[in-house]
Amino acid sequence: MPTSSSASTPAATANRPEFLISYLKSEQQGEVKLKTLREVKNQIIGNRTKKISYIKLGAVPKIVEILASAHDSDLSILVQSAATIGSFACGVDAGVKAVLDSGAFPHLIRLLSHSDDKVVDAGARSLKMIFQSKLAPKYDFHKDENMTFLLSLLNSENENVTELGASIITHSCETSGEQKALCEAGTLRRLVMLLEGSLNQREASLDSLAAIIKNNPEVISKFVGLDSGRALKSVTELMKDRYPRTRLLASVCLIVIGRTSPCYLQDIGLRTKLIMLLIELLEEPGRVGDEVPFALAGLIADNEDLQKLAFEVNALDKLCNFLHRDMILAKQLEGLLLAIAELCSRLEICRERFLSLQALKLVTSTLTHDCAEVRTAACICMQSVTRSVKNLSAGHFLTDTMVTPLVQLLHGPPISLQVAALKTISNVVVNFTNRKSIFIQCGGLKELVQLSKSMDSTLRLNSVWALRNLMFLTENSNKERILLELTASTLTSLICDPEPFVQEQALALVRNLVDGGINSIEHVFIEGGVVVNAVGRQVRSASKSEVCIQGMYVFSNISTGSELHKEAVMHQLLPEADGGAQSVIMKFLQCSDNQLRVATIWCVVNLTYPGSPGSSARVTRLRDYGIISQVKSMVNDPCLDAKVVIVHVLKSIHHSSCIISVLRTIIQHVVLQFRVKTVLEQCTVFSDAAA
């Protein structure tokens, strides 16, 4: 029957939160309090809005007060107050916070030793709710009394209490020290026993087993060895359980084992079954469906064989089909994007398939999703897909539709999202067509330059990385625009950044800047040569090979320019006065890093390149520093690349007839080595066969 919206019936008024809270006051009769607790509990179960509204009205401290002051014999009050507290803590962080702030924790713990099973059940359930939240206090497993208490929980006859014990482990076990302590205390054996218990015990046990063995080969080997391998067998068997969540949790346990100790997950049949099972579970509603893509992503991460296997059983098509659905919750969408990202991370065949499924448009649209985690996952997914050089070359990624939302994400926060967007942009701007200006025009360059000045070193690293790739093989007009925006002074600061990774990318950026002829090289000599001087300082003083390699390629590229450019490089790389000081060229030629030797020899090749008027004078100076004889002594360098570059140096400093003879010797030497090796291998095969 319709009623007036302004009028409330007496019953409705009595059930309003403000009204009910007044009944929770301690002076009320026990019966009234009990009825009120029941009413509040019934109203808030599964109703987030109601929970929040009661929390705001201060209901939680009042209920905790009732629990604290209740006598051990007030069974109903104890049960109802504990259950109501648990309900507040269930699934709502604000509820957990209110419960913890009200000091409920010790009172709930007290209930675990009550003589009445119902009271114990209520206390254990509420504590379990609390431990399912990230806000729950961390349990210290290293305290003897805590470990004893935890074992008593796990060994309890009461199902809810054992589940609580498992939940505490799942929530608090993080470090390898904690994993070891739990393993040594015998929890593994007890948790494996619980796998044969009720559904809830099984699931709680699988969850905590995963927490104890995660990334810990020592504990995994103990777990696998338990009861002659029966523990592992039990978990494997649970992959066939009738309950989807149990199947998922068993899979997660096996994934954790396989990732840390792949030897236990070698069976191709089992690996295929795992992938098939996870794909099948994708269709499950609720929590299972939400969590499955994360498990799949974890399984195939960094493992090309498993990615291939997943691709062969159509995992990519199925994941992409989900993206076409209308109502996908943020959590599941995030997982789907991360699983697709893993699938496309290494295999070009997956990227091709992803693009043919028209999924790029869908992923691009999630770059503007409300949830930051989804936006980050979308970036990570696009980062994998944009590793396709074939499509980069075709200019498929550098479009307004893709670049504009990515650039928007650079504004942040959070930093993790900015970093994910930067990594994708780094790939997208490696464009071989003349479209780099699209990125510059939509404001991308400005944002990258801003982020290269960030206080956060990860943001600096990734923005400079993107600038380096943007600079790769771009036309001189774009180089000018980049340098104008970045300025010589910021570039100099980046070359001298406190972080070697940033230095390396900044030098690689300069390397690309000066690749492209005299006009390009001139850019590093502006403003009194601050940039080239910074490169020189870094090459002379850096301790990381990666930094020196990029620095030497900068000088190598500059040395392809005019006489002035070549002389400027000589000035940077040879000591001013001949006071016996070793030149940095000599140091690098004698170092053990193949790539650094190769970069250095290329620099010498270019400094002595025939046809330049000053070449012979430079050869003389390099000879004076012992560099030419060092190069000559390297014709048998163990690195083939270094060896062949030396041919080019010799070509520059000797007559061509002489070089042809050297060249012939080197080729003959290498081919002879190869033949001897082949003969020896064949001899081994024959002797093996004879044996």
Binding site: K390, K423, N427, N512, S556, N557, H648, L663, I666, T678
Partner: protein
């Protein structure tokens, strides 16, 4: 580089992968950004003809035996502008790919016939005849053998009157940066020779740019 259409053919998708040896040597002259210039001989019975060709390496992933880039044919008679194609290369590393093509209408006999055109292949011939070279260790060999297959036209439509149905048997010399290749397409003139030299693009030395995907 595209050639004139005679008859189109669709390549099969058989993989030539096998497990085994260390990868071929990394070579700076064959790294991303590097340019090569030379000619392709497209002579037929009727007339002698050679097209100028420029190549630029755009991607290199030796772990997967993968190389790619563009090929620009400059004086193609039927085209108004230079014709650019994108190609993908299979590096014969005996891990990802062997000397046997196993697709693109190339039989092992076709393979041996083409590879044998390279003098640097001769020392490997006997072993390759046995198993495609699966047991050969090329990690310190100063030549890199590849197959380059053009995938699409970059700047003209597929109706340009040219075909990219065939593929190249390629040999790169690490020592001097010279590339030799032979185009193979059962429907085109046999053994069209590709000759390319590492190009410094008018600079007074060798310049190296680089990018890194994330």
């Amino acid at each position: 580089m595209p050639v004139r259409v005679v008859e189109s053919s669709a390549p099969s998708q058989v993989s030539g992968a096998s497990t085994g040896h260390a990868l071929p040597p990394a070579c700076t002259l064959l790294s991303v950004g590097q340019a090569f210039a030379g000619t392709q001989n497209v002579s037929s019975v009727q007339k002698d003809e050679a097209w100028k060709v420029n190549v630029r390496i755009q991607g290199c992933d030796l772990d997967h035996g993968y190389l790619c880039g563009t090929m620009e044919a400059l004086n193609v008679p039927l085209a108004d502008t230079p014709v650019v194609t994108f190609w993908e290369g299979e590096v014969v590393d005996t891990k990802n790919y062997t000397f046997f093509t196993g697709k693109w209408e190339a039989t092992p006999e076709d393979d041996i016939r083409h590879w044998s055109k390279f003098p640097s292949f001769v020392p490997l011939l006997s072993q390759v005849e046995v198993d495609g070279g699966k047991s050969v260790d090329l990690s310190s060999y100063p030549y890199i053998f590849m197959r380059w297959k053009e995938q699409y036209f970059v700047n003209v439509g597929i109706d340009c009157g040219l075909t990219i149905a065939g593929f190249y048997y390629v040999c790169f010399s690490c020592v001097d940066g010279i590339i030799h290749g032979y185009y193979y397409d059962p429907n085109s003139s046999p053994f069209q020779k590709l000759e390319l030299k590492s190009s410094n693009e008018g600079r007074s030395g060798f310049s190296f740019s680089s990018y890194q995907l994330q």
